[in-house]
């Protein structure tokens, strides 16, 4: 039985779930998985090269979080803690995949998992440009511009100073602008 009062704030409800999960209530951890699964996937997808790698990272991340739950202090933000673990899992998977060639990486980034009928020129060119970006810059760009994380949150997740996240974002945007500039000049 979960003891989160219905009228409490989402933060309090989450804290109650964390405490219950720490006491060994599996349904409380299941509720945390439901609560954070999509956002965790988004974090993993920003870092991982493919949808499949992102899925693996989410599973690994939740498993690591479950193992480390006893060390988590409930006054912290569970989401930030979890996303850092998921980001690390995605980075680990990326490192293991490093042996793949650039061409294979470009293919995997360019391959949408749910929309194989790609027709839009901007999206096609964007995927090619993303594949050419350094892994960390791509992750910062997606986490900031797509997922709306702040520079500080991104820095925490990827284990780097906030200023580095800011500068990575700047460089990633500039690189995209450069590679897509001819597309706009054609219009």
């Amino acid at each position: 039985m979960l003891d989160a009062p219905a009228e409490s704030s989402p933060r309090e409800q989450e804290r109650a779930l964390v405490l219950a999960a720490q006491r060994g209530q599996s349904e409380a951890f299941a509720a945390l998985v439901r609560l954070h699964g999509r956002r965790a996937y988004a974090v993993a997808r920003a870092i991982a090269a493919t949808h499949e790698d992102a899925e693996d990272a989410v599973q690994e991340g939740f498993l690591h979080a479950y193992r480390a739950l006893g060390r988590f202090r409930p006054e912290q933000a569970f989401g930030a803690w979890l996303y850092r673990i998921v980001a690390n899992a995605a980075l680990d998977i990326g490192r293991r995949r490093k042996v793949r060639s650039t061409e294979a990486l470009a293919d995997s980034v360019a391959l949408p998992f749910r929309d194989p009928a790609e027709s839009d020129e901007l999206r096609r060119r964007l995927k090619e440009s993303l594949a050419m970006l350094p892994e960390r810059q791509r992750a910062v760009l997606v986490l900031h511009d797509v997922e709306g994380f702040t520079h500080g949150e991104i820095g925490q997740m990827l284990g780097m100073p906030e200023g580095t996240a800011r500068s990575d974002l700047h460089h990633a945007r500039a690189a995209l602008r450069r590679t897509l500039s001819d597309l706009w000049s054609e219009r």
Binding site: S26, Q59, L63, P112, D120, L126, L130, D145, L176
Partner: protein, 131 residues
């Protein structure tokens, strides 16, 4: 259009951001998320249950019996080893005592063979000439 003119005050290009969102969009099918959550929870359950749960009921009984047998065999082995050590220790002590305890009187056989000679000579005579 000049790309620089498309950039907002925060440095974001809205058209590129829209395209990025379509590239990185998460699956929107609820069934996908349910399946992913089920996979995550299944992995966690198997981790929590541990290796013990991977055996069937009879398998667990067999493992338990084997563990008890191993424990009994281990105890018996330890006991037997201790007994052996004690016996060896006793034998060594006895041998030492036999060596150290020099008889105060000459054996009857030695006395008969060397009648009248001093004890030292009698012993030497006995050692050299006895069969």
């Amino acid at each position: 259009m000049n790309p620089e003119s498309r950039i907002g005050p925060d440095g974001r290009d809205d058209e590129v951001t829209r395209a990025l969102r379509t590239v990185y969009a998460a699956p929107d099918n609820p069934a996908y998320w349910e399946a992913l959550e089920a996979r995550i929870l299944s992995r966690i359950r198997s981790e929590a249950d541990g290796w013990w749960q991977s055996f069937s009921g009879w398998g667990r009984m067999g493992l338990l019996a084997a563990a008890v047998l191993l424990m009994v065999a281990g105890l018996a082995l330890t006991h037997a080893r201790e007994s052996l050590m004690q016996t060896r220790e006793q034998e060594a002590r006895l041998a030492y005592q036999m060596v150290m305890q020099v008889p105060q009187t000459l054996p009857q056989q030695l006395v008969a063979a060397t009648d009248g000679a001093p004890a030292r000579e009698a012993t030497l005579h006995y050692v050299v000439f006895s069969p």
